[in-house]
Subunit: 461 residues, 2 copies
Amino acid sequence: MAAREMILSAAVCLCSIAAVRLMDLYWDSPSPGPHWMERESGPALRASCSGHGRVFNDGSDLACECSDCYTGVNCSELQHGCMVDADAGDPTFLEPFWMEHGADAGVFMPSWYRMGYSVKKKGSSPAHKELPLVYVIKELEDSIRELHELVGNAVVKDKYLVLGTGSMQLVAAALNALSDSFPEKPGAVVTRAPYYMIYKLQVDVLSSSKFQWGGDAVAAFEKKAFDPSSVVELLAAPNNPDTSILEPVYKGTNAKIIHDKAYYWPHYTAIAGALDEDVMLFSLSKTTGHAGSRIGWALVRDIEVYKKMFMYIAVSTIGVSRESQLRAHRLIKSVLDGYQNGGSHKARMFDFGYHTLQSRWQTLAEIFKASTRFSIQKVDSQHCSFFKKEVSPSPAYAWIRCEQEEDCHSIFAAAGINGRPGRAFGASNRYIRLCMIKRDDEFELLAGKLQALVDTELTNE
Amino acid sequence: MAAREMILSAAVCLCSIAAVRLMDLYWDSPSPGPHWMERESGPALRASCSGHGRVFNDGSDLACECSDCYTGVNCSELQHGCMVDADAGDPTFLEPFWMEHGADAGVFMPSWYRMGYSVKKKGSSPAHKELPLVYVIKELEDSIRELHELVGNAVVKDKYLVLGTGSMQLVAAALNALSDSFPEKPGAVVTRAPYYMIYKLQVDVLSSSKFQWGGDAVAAFEKKAFDPSSVVELLAAPNNPDTSILEPVYKGTNAKIIHDKAYYWPHYTAIAGALDEDVMLFSLSKTTGHAGSRIGWALVRDIEVYKKMFMYIAVSTIGVSRESQLRAHRLIKSVLDGYQNGGSHKARMFDFGYHTLQSRWQTLAEIFKASTRFSIQKVDSQHCSFFKKEVSPSPAYAWIRCEQEEDCHSIFAAAGINGRPGRAFGASNRYIRLCMIKRDDEFELLAGKLQALVDTELTNE
């Protein structure tokens, strides 16, 4: 930790010197220079916020926004008795990577950048005839395809790419497309429990006439609750929350499966090979850690499904933010550069991410090893085709079972940890999900509170 | 035109000199300077594309993207026999304003800018309890409210603000919220014909169990086709396509109206006063001309409607792109500065926009004055509370009626003009919509072809 912070400080310092020299030039000069230079990067880069916060250039008050449980103008005060937030899944564990190695992925947009609805340079995926909107920046589509080829996690050849405002919009688009052929409407959307709660929330809120929430896929299948030809199965693998990698419940050539592959990247799991499914979803949030950008993509085999999904995105949001697309392109390009141009090991995002999460999992496993009151999910070491070696586990979430008590969430809350309760995932409240992908300082607080919780158990034995 | 282009060229030239000086500094220096400076603004600003194109900094090939009908590496060749595209509604008439006056609205985002799902600084609109996502950058909400107060087109006090990925997402969110109380489901979504075609497309694609497309509001009301308590009326005023400003068809305290106020800004219409409706929608696309950013907002009176709309956006797209929000904030801030800080008349966006569109309308009215074959919609001069004077018309679209022929679209197509046919708006094909808000060179081509079309008519008489 200390070493990394020193490197960061040094980089910040050098950048600041450069920025100051730059501004001297501007202040001496009568040219109409871009005054955003000072505003955009100067103070933001200089402010360290005690290593427990960030300054974002949103407005006039360039104040530190502190990590959870830190407070004060410089985020230097740790709030005593503060509840650690391990509920939300902000992927900020990659923030230090970008602060160290992301200079080339910063992006400047002039005020007149891409004002139109359509872009004029077309990518490889065809536009819709009825609504001839071209909303995808070609370079982004190209870099996404290249990234999959580098990582080897999905077959992109002969696949259409649908860009969405985050992958949840693509879930809606895919459900809408696949349910068109249901013989009975509304059909059912099922998924193995425990499942990502927003799947259900979204289906409920959308109130489609074509599909309704059908609950746990295994229960539905065993009870023969629905005609299988009127079912779409959502399958997240690795799964959120329990990080398991399972097969679809509904099988056969007519089964309609949406493969949510958000976590099928080398920092979270061993890559077993390039998947070649009909509908696969990915998101920038989990790939580069940029959840705020709301960029997701679907790789789709069938042109009719592609057209329907495209139409859904086109009429729901008339495409996807050009600003986010440009930034996503630069970020992915920067990741590619780290691996392709003989870059140093340190500038390789998946390596950085994997090592961070693997070390966190080791910490967690160590803490819970001695406990009989709590157990964490079992994740095996496996061969990863990307890293070309056996890799030890590095899951995004801990899925913890309370072996004695029934209300796991309350136990953790009493210990100062706010996790997400099992019932939010269609599971029992004996479970709780803890997010492992936030900032280092936030994970350290979490680990400290978990250690104290287990220590209490061992002392009381 | 010539004068404006000279000013533009001069500005580009000065900026280039500044950029070159800046880069000299970097090339001399061993500091880890931001190399994006050259990539981001140097070539893009320097390339003039013959005044008929733009260079965007998306990728490695910094090529000109030409205006419609222009081609060649520098967009210098006018394609003979090219069809003028007056179909799509790209609001690029404001592009020259931003190129001249938008230096302060350019935005730089470091690679680590706002990676999380939530922002930590809360705005005035409350977060949802069930899904405690805070996705709106406070500064954007503040600047939107300030803009409405400057223009005086909407009452923002005691209103909640829902931010959406463009205003069409807010249409879906509002329909979803308001239809909850329908006694009969599915209820009906109606709107006066002619109407914006994507209203209908969206309702059809969403396939909600709560509402269906009910067609023309006047016809539905007269035929008593639906129970009025199970109806939502969409009312765009000024209307797209015919720019009319009409009252709702469904009236009374229980009427559920979504007021689409996308065009209720001083460049398109006289501001009659600050509206104070229950649900009002606006979009950045038409306000500052940034359609590609996909930013819209709703001003909502009732907290229950607000909560439901918030929830819809939260589960559909988990909020709105942070990049677009930051850019929208800077753009709106820049518009505000133009009016508030004693800025010159030239740096005032609504003035620029109004003068551009008013002059275009005058050109069009002049062309069609002599025609008996075609008529354009009547728009009156009116007092504008923002400009504090009577303003002559400056509508965004021409809604043209073919007085003799039945297939208006074919007549215009034969004259080299691709307009949007009446049937796309639920109207007769005797009508065609022509977009008046694209680039100057594109409008000039359109005006030339229209003049030729009317000249033929007069010659043949």
